[in-house]
Structures are given as C-alpha cells and as structure tokens.
C-alpha cells in the first residue's frame, strides 16, 4: 500500500484520543475503495470520519492505524427535483446539501445540530436526527439508496433512486447507525420534501411533564400534525414546550390557532406564537443544549412514560451532573440528558440505575458523549440487546478480520 499517499495525523484526526498512523482524504470513491481494500489486506485497522460531529458516539477503537476522511467526497451527484430525490457523496455537509435543494424549493427533512459540519455519510452512520423527526421520521425513513466500500475493498450498492423499491435486501437500513463497522459509506440517496410555505413555532412555557403528556394526547385527538414537538427542561418540574407547524399558509394558521387555544385553556397556562427572531433563538437553544457539556446521554422510552422518566428515573442522574440539561421529544419517546460529569462515581451509579429502569420497559440509555473517566466505569452502549448474536454474525460476514472500527459498536463489535 502506498501509505505515502496519506498524510500524518494531526490532533483533529484522533478518534476518542486514539491517533492513527496515517490519514487519507480520497478524492474519489474508487480511491477510497482502494485505500480500504489495501489497508485491510495489510492488516490495518480503520476508522471513517465525516464532519466529526458524532465521533464521541461509541466506545474507544480497540486499534486504529488508518483514518479515512470523506471531506473530499463532496459532490452532489444528482438532484432530480421533479422526482424529489438526491444522490450525494458521503462528505457533502447537510448545509451544502440544503443550499442545493433550496434552490428548487426542497429539503432533506433531517435536522441534527451542526449542519455546517455534519456530513451525509456521518449522519447515516450515526443515525443522527433532529426535532423534525416528529413528522418525517429518521434516517431509515428517508434513505432510499446507498453505496459503500466493503472491508475487502469491493463497492456495494443497495436500494435505488426511486422512492418505492423492494428489490433485494434493504442494505440502506443495515448501514443506518452502523457507525463505520460494516463499511465506508460513499454515496447516499434520499427522498426529499418540499420546503414549507410557512413555518411557525409556539411556546408554552413552564409546563409539568404530566401536562405535556396530556397536551400531546389532546393534540393527537384533535388531529393536529406538528413537524416538531420538544420539551426543554427549565428547572424543578417545569419544561418549556415548543411545537412547530409547517406547510401551506392557511393550514399552518389554522393549526396554530387550534393548538394555541388548546394549550392555554387551563388555568395558569399560556402559549404564544414566537416571532421570527424568537423562533430562531428557540431552535438554536435546542441545538446548543444538545452540544452542551462533556456528557450527553440519549434516552429511549415509551412516550407516555415521560412524567415517570423525568420525575423519577432521571432524578439521580440530573442531580449527579453539573449544569444538567434535559430535552425530550414527547411524541417519539426520545430525549437527551446533558451536562458535566465530574463526579464520575455518582454519575456512573445514576446511569446504571436509569438504565435498569428504562431497560425494564424496553427502553435504553446510550452515552453519546462522556469523559474517559466515566467510559472506564460504564459501557457507553449498556448491556447488549438480545439480538447481539445475530449482530455479531452480520459483522463477521462483512468484516471477517475485524478491521473496521473494531470495538466501537454495541457489544464490542
């Protein structure tokens, strides 16, 4: 292998503090395939890096010799506005993609934080999402095709370029959230949505979790269809509930009015429509909260369990953290706890306890960011799911010599 065509690593190339010997930034998919194939056959271990926004997700790599960055795979290969699909190389950032699509009145309905850095390939590999998941689903609901380099350097495709397609096994779904352990994602095809004519965000401040659960239930009953619903923790048992409606003007106005009257119908409850600046500030607050502190845990539970999760399950964790933060997507049953985890032992115990409670109801708690001291104490993924044996089988078939991000994924895969 021509290691000479790579470059020496800098601090920014380390994965959770582990530095590679060499870094490649291939300009083409073919070159990327050659690098992966030759590295693996030379017995090197690899990690794949996009914008690096979710590099803290996963365990430390057991070994790391080669980092392949997708930065130069930055072409939007095809945008067919009338078919509402886009084919983009892995290194295209969400912001760059959004600019191309907006010129034709369209968007990819994936809105994780840091769109200027987050890349298409990274978002798929990490299964990143944002508040619009409420309406449009996650990566698995929007991805329709994928190409990736296998550990043997061969290029594989799955899915296609049309929204509706059931030919062959669903390789795109397999790659979503696989964190670079099955192959290097090189291009992704997504289905797109029209940009809304109108967007409005309402804020109902200072609500209790129980009120939020009942408000969301009434919203369902009233057949309102928000594109985002998020509860941002303020203090004590109080949350600010933000609800966003998007679509054609008339429909948005009507939904806004109905929700506002519903949310302010009880005593001492208020709900107001945010102006453009306040709306932007609110969603910026959401994104900032997701990136605050050295600790970030993703929670999953049944949506209706919110009051118990916030009022009981998470109490020890929130008190063990410094500058704790909590946000929750009430229609999804997903949320994040953030903060500083200086009191390692206390945080570790609280994580165990929250995991036990959530796990008993089929939920989970995964550390998306954590200091090394805490990582030494707890597995970032928690105990492996019951299907771990089958997952190991898949990993072994795709990467028989365990060279792709070894040890990073669930159960040490």
């Amino acid at each position: 292998m021509t290691l000479a065509s790579g470059r020496p690593p800098t601090d920014g190339d380390a994965v959770l503090g582990v530095s590679p010997e060499v870094v490649f930034e291939p300009p083409t998919v073919e070159e990327a395939a050659r690098i992966v194939g030759e590295s693996v056959s030379a017995g090197k271990s690899l990690a794949f890096v996009g914008g690096g926004t979710d590099l803290e997700l996963g365990s430390h790599p057991e070994r790391l010799d080669v980092v392949v960055r997708t930065r130069r795979l930055d072409r939007v290969l095809e945008h067919a506005p009338s078919d509402q699909i886009v084919v983009a190389e892995a290194g295209v950032t969400l912001a760059a993609l959004a600019r191309v699509l907006a010129a034709h009145g369209q968007r990819l309905a994936l809105d994780p934080p840091l769109p200027d850095r987050a890349t298409v390939g990274g978002v798929v590999a990490a299964n990143a999402f944002g508040p619009r998941r409420t309406r449009y689903g996650s990566v698995r609901d929007l991805i329709i095709g994928i190409s990736f380099v296998r550990s043997d350097g061969r290029l594989a495709h799955g899915g296609g370029k049309v929204v509706k397609n059931v030919a062959g096994f669903d390789l795109p779904k397999l790659m979503v959230g696989s964190l670079g352990t099955l192959g290097l994602i090189t291009t992704v095809t997504f289905r797109l949505h029209p940009l809304p004519e109108e967007t409005v965000t309402l804020l109902s401040p200072g609500r209790r979790a129980t009120e939020i659960v009942s408000l969301v239930a009434r919203m369902h009953a009233a057949q309102l269809e928000p594109t985002s619903v998020v509860a941002l923790w303020r203090e004590g048992d109080r949350f600010d509930l933000a609800v966003r409606f998007e679509g054609f003007g008339r429909g948005v106005a009507e939904q806004r009015e109905r929700f506002a009257s519903m949310a302010s119908s009880e005593a001492q409850s208020e709900c107001h429509t945010l102006d453009a600046a306040a709306q932007e500030a609110l969603w910026a607050r959401h994104d900032a909260l997701l990136r605050a502190g050295s600790f970030r845990a993703k929670l999953a539970a049944l949506p209706a369990a919110f009051a118990t999760v916030a009022g009981q399950t998470l109490v020890p964790l929130l008190s063990a953290l410094e500058s704790p933060g909590l946000l929750w997507y009430p229609t999804l049953g997903l949320g994040f706890v953030t903060g500083e985890a200086r009191a390692t032992e206390g945080v570790a115990v609280a994580v165990f306890s929250a995991r036990t409670t959530l796990g008993a109801e089929g939920g989970s708690l995964v550390l998306h960011a954590a200091p090394d001291s805490l990582r030494r104490r707890v597995d970032v993924w928690g105990s492996p799911p019951s299907a771990i044996g089958l997952m190991k089988g898949v990993k072994t078939r795709f990467d028989p010599t365990r060279r792709l991000a070894p040890g990073r994924f669930v159960g040490g895969l």
């Binding site: 067919a80 008339r250 009507e254 072994t396």
Partner: protein
Amino acid sequence: MSTAPAAAARDLATRMVAIVGARHVIDDEGELSTYECDGLTGVRVRPRLVVLPASTEEVASVVRVAFEAGIPVVARGAGTGLSGGALPVRGSIVVALSRMRRILEVDLANGWIRVEPGVINLDVSKAIAGDGYYYAPDPSSQGVCTIGGNVAENSGGAHCLKYGFTVNHVRGARVVLADGSVVDLGGPVLDTPGYDLTGVVVGSEGLLGIVTEVVLRVLRKPQATRTFFATFPSTDEAGAAVSAIIASGIVPAAIEMMDRLAIVAAKAATGLDWPDVGAALLMDADGPLAEVEHTSENAIELARRSGAIEIRRPRDEAERALMWKGRKSAFAAVGRISPNYFVQDGVIPRSEIARVLREIEGLASKAGLRVANVFHAGDGNLHPLVLYDKNLPGQESAAEELGGEILRLCVRYGGSITGEHGVGADKAAYMSVMFSEDDLDTMNLVRCAFDPEGLLNPGKVFPTPRLCGDRRGPYRAHATETTGQAWRE
C-alpha cells in the same frame, strides 16, 4: 432401498404431528395441492408437507426439526403474493401462519399494536378504528393478505406516497431463525441500540427468518380527506398533471393513474359511469382540514391547467368509496376484456411516466399485444397488465417476454424491477439487471449471517444459488443441491 425415503417422510410427518397435532399437518396429496402456489399461479411445486403451527414455540420446533434434517422451509401467509415468494421448493415444508391470528397487545397512547403474523391487514385497522386510529399500509389485497406476508414483502399500497411502506410502520418483530432459535428485534420503544435488523428483515421475502410477532406503528386518522377524479385526453396530460402537483409542494396521500384500457375494464366490472377517455387520475389529499382544502383545490387547478377534461368530486363517503373501488378492482376487471393477463410491477422516476408509457405501448404493439396501465403515479410504481390469450399459440411466451422487456425499460430509466410485489421466484432472474455481482454478493452476506445453510425459502430473490462457503467438517449436500436447484460437478 426404495422404502427408506418413505420411512423418512413418515418419520418427519410424525415429528411434526408431535409438535402441532395431527389436524395441523397436511401430507395428503390432494390437500397439498392447495399450497402448490401463491398469487403467481403459473408456477406450481407441491411441498413435502404443510404444517400449521399456532405459536412461536411451535414454529421454532418445526423449524428446528427441519434444520436438523436439512429440509428447506417456506413460510406462507394468505398466499396472495404476486411474485411467487411463497412458492414451495421441491421437498420443502411449508409453514403456514394462518392459525396465528391474534392481536396480542394494543397501546394507542404510545401508538403501537402487537399482532401475530396471520392477522389480516385490514383487521388491524378495524380493531382500532373505534378509537380513531388506523394502520397505514394498504395493499389492494388488504382485505385478505396478512401482516406476516406484508412484512416479508415490505408491502406498499396506494397511500404509501405520503405514509411510507410496511418497513416504515414496523417497530419490532419476534423472529424464528433458520436453526429454530428465537430472536427479538426492536420493539415498541424507538432506537434499540445495535444494527437495524428489523429494517433488514422487513422485505427479506422469507429468506432471513419467520416472523411470529410484529409490533406495528399505528396512526391517528387524519382530520379530513379530499378526493377528486380527473379525466385527460391521454396519459401525457395526466403525467404532466402529476408532475405539476408534486412540483407545487403538495404531498398527496395517494395519486393513481389509469389509462384508456384500464378505464374500460374498470367500467365493465363495476358499472361506474366513467367517461371514455385516454387517462384518468384519482387523488386523495389528507391531513388537517384547512391544509387539505387548500392542497386539494390547488391540485385541481393544476390538473385543469395540465389539460384535464373533467373534474369530479365525490359528494359523500359512499361516492368516494365507489371511486376507489373502481381503482382497486382494476386488476381483476381486466379479466373482463382479456382471457388472460400478467400483472407486472416496476418503478420509474415519476417525471418519466409519459415517456415510459409511450415506450411500453411501442413494445406492446411490436409484440402484437395489448397492455393496460393502472398504477401508483405519485411514486412512479407502474403496474402494466399484459393481456393475452393462452389458447393462441405463442401468446403466453410473448406476453412473458414483453413483461421482461418492461422491467428492463424501468431499470434503464433509473427505476426498479419491483415496487411492492417483491422479487420472489418470478423476478429472481432480473436481479442482475438491477444489481451488480458485488451487490448480490453483499446481500448474500446478510443471508449467510441469518441462515448459513440456506434452508429458508431457497431459490427466491437471488438469480443463482449461492452458498455461504464456510462449512467445516465432512461434505454435506446443500439443500439447494438435494432439491435440484444447484449441482456440484
């Protein structure tokens, strides 16, 4: 030793009887013939045995016995599939899931329901309709097809343009693997850590496992639905209308197209007073009332500007149901205008509808055949119905050949060989038109992780038999060899 196989067969039947009871094992030649094919009726293979288990444990035991004996297993739901996904393999055991039809758990507060695979698609919606909820995927056969079959095929329907396919509505599944072990994938709570194997199992056409419980996402019914029917001089204008509607930012719940021949057939079958025109569109918009009224009026205006002759709006729910009945009965209706027909299923980018339909017409007239088109225009999912008369020498094979040409045409336009009917036995040969050898090899890696012996539904999806190439120890004939699908020189 001619008695050895007979004794082995008796022994197998005895073991199955011990698991599910005598009433639920079929080995009578006459009764077996019911299971010789699914909705793809042109190909028939009689299975060795049919077993009807009633629980996950029974399915697991049946599969384990088959695994130990090296016998292929084919799972079957209602047998409505159109691609031969449930077609038995020679010497196989068919595991029919029709006795597993309980709704196990309903949790509307959290938007899910847990069902057994034999539950009929429409019965899921019926069970929760009183609370204002429904299950979104709506294949035309939804009154008879089962959830297990839907999961195997990743079934679609008219309304998946807005709401997605089966895979977007399956949150988890209990799966019996090829060796009889049982695994739970996903569940009611989102984002179970690990690979999304639920997403991989959905649409895997019975090659990765047998689903014995499914957790489905259910939705609150939309506040309002507006439907209209529009007629056009030809499919060119109708295709232009579809493109204009989508380009305006409208996401219809469904938008269906029929060409002249399909309209004639639907009229003959239902007695609808549809006019004699070159093409028609049927569109649903649903969602919050104000939004729906706005989008529906805009769509009608765009249809007019694209050359619509006439727009009809149903006056009430009964009239709306009748319009949809006309559309949904169109496949069977073709039987009124032709002694025989094939239903084809291919996908093209929707912007190419008009051009592709003209090319199909050209191919048909070259073959001396007629093709009726009735399809999901919003997502470019064509269903050309190739009409023929099998009593006329050469017509059946000409029709088959034309069907194949249409699939190649779809792939040439950047589309797919199947949008919702699956690959099955019918289209396995066309997989290599759409996928490279490396792509197929990669899909086979998935199969080998789930079923290294290749005992589950062999001969489907993949164009040529593939082994997993890692068997250690003394040589054992592979299932595909003993069933005559593969040979070792």
